[in-house]
């Protein structure tokens, strides 16, 4: 029996997703049930197109599920690495202002911390729709760190930006917030092996949980090579 680190913070029951126009109405995944502890570190592995990002988006509330239930008992970030939460015609600064009101945070403090992390400087005055994907990811990650969620949903963000920015992301997330939970979809096996305690693999509509990270990586490596 698996004990959720710090107590259960997320319970997912019978989750499924089928896109309307999927060939043969084939579900992307189905019957997915798992729990995440308040200090749990869960990796999501799967080949391209198997549903990793979809799962992260559903957990973050950016996409609806076809079936099942998601019960959050801790605050969760939006999917980091996914820019869907921004209003494109607003500037970076105005998006920060909007979120500071939504999450009841002090705007000036939030602006300072986001800018400190994202290093966007004067670009914060530009509409977000003019940002590159890397800039949007930096803004999203900076915002999520500033709001201090209990669980971070990450979709390959750490692959964005240069080596220095990636190092900064890893330090902020895995060292300065070592007591938080995160659910991370990634192809970076070294990162997963170093930081994750469990792995969820999505493949051909089936989902399995692994408590042995090394074993999950072996399986995933084989799936990728096959």
């Amino acid at each position: 029996m698996w004990d959720a680190p710090g107590g259960i913070g997320l319970e997912v029951t019978g989750l499924g997703k089928t896109y309307k126009h999927a060939p043969g109405g084939r579900p992307l995944f189905k019957d997915l049930s798992f729990t995440v502890g308040r200090q749990d570190r869960l990796a999501v592995l799967g080949r391209n197109g198997q549903g990793k990002s979809t799962l992260i988006k559903i957990l973050g509330g950016a996409l609806g599920a076809t079936s099942g239930r998601i019960d959050w008992r801790m605050t969760n970030s939006w999917p980091i690495g996914f820019a869907g939460g921004f209003q494109g015609s607003l500037s970076g600064r105005d998006n920060i202002r909007f979120l500071s009101r939504l999450y009841k945070r002090d705007f000036d403090e939030m602006l300072r911390r986001v800018d400190d992390f994202a290093e966007l400087g004067s670009k914060l005055a530009l509409p977000v729709k003019h940002y590159s994907s890397g800039m949007r990811a930096r803004l999203a990650f900076g915002l999520s760190l500033t709001i201090e969620f209990e669980c971070y949903l990450i979709d390959e963000l750490v692959a964005v930006g240069d080596a220095r920015f990636q190092r900064k992301c890893r330090e902020e997330l895995f060292e300065h917030r070592a007591d938080r939970a995160f659910i991370m979809a990634s192809h970076d096996m070294r990162l997963i092996e170093k930081h994750c305690e469990r792995v969820l693999i999505i493949e051909s509509g089936r989902v399995k949980m692994f408590h042995d990270v090394r074993e999950a990586i072996d399986i995933y490596s084989w799936l990728r090579a096959a």
Partner: protein, 296 residues
Amino acid sequence: MNPAKIGFLILPSPHERAWRSAVTEAAVAAGFSVAKSATWLKSNGNAVGQLLIAGSAAEARDFGDAHWVVVTTELTTAVNTMSARVPHALSKGYRLLAELLAAQAWLIDKGVVLSHSDEKSLDLPYLGAITRECAPDESPPVADASPLSLYCDAAPSVGASAEWPHDLFVFKNAAKAILSPPHIDLTGRGRVLVYGPRFALPPGRWQATANFTVDTEGSDLFLKFQWGVGEDFHEMQVTLQNSGAYEVTLDHAWNFVGSAELRVWAANAHFLGRMEFHGAKVVRLPDLEGELRCAS
């Protein structure tokens, strides 16, 4: 002066204890060293004479040149007697008995003549005529002798065979072990799934046919089969794309008596797939031309 050496091999039977006692007493009375270990006798046995009560072909071989006395019985009697001794570990009983049966087959191949345990007296070299006591009238429970049926004739000839059901094998981390046969979830890294039963076989070419079913769950399954003794085995790898029942056959030559093991592996990591291993059939094949066997 070289000591007189007597090797004594006896199969389990209601008279076994009586024969052991009678032979041991006679040997001790004649000044022989008596032991179950050839190695011990080599360093501690006296110069007058040595009696080895052998439990395996390896012990018999290590003892070197000796006069051998083999007291045999019917296979069913041997199995029933052994099962009464290890009632809760029949697989272990088969394994111990297979060691004796394989040693017997090897000694027959070397020209040793068998005596039957029902006889009342034996003529032993150096020790003369020996008479056993009458064993108490006991009939051991009837056990299934089929896993060792290849020893129906004391020395298995070409075509001798046995069925080894799944419960003689070890299932590594099989889920739902309560089911018969256990369901094996192939999910996981490449690993050994099933192995056993480590029953001794005499020298010769032996064929094993593994019998199993798979549910591929829509993915390719990569299984590896090994048949032989320890690190000396024949290996075959198969890729299965359809669910169903399968047989995999492997041949391997035993150069000397050795514990036969069939191993089934997941050849690499699997995400999906299930397997049920039902057992194996073992058959003695003709030796291939030019195949060498250990003569000593």
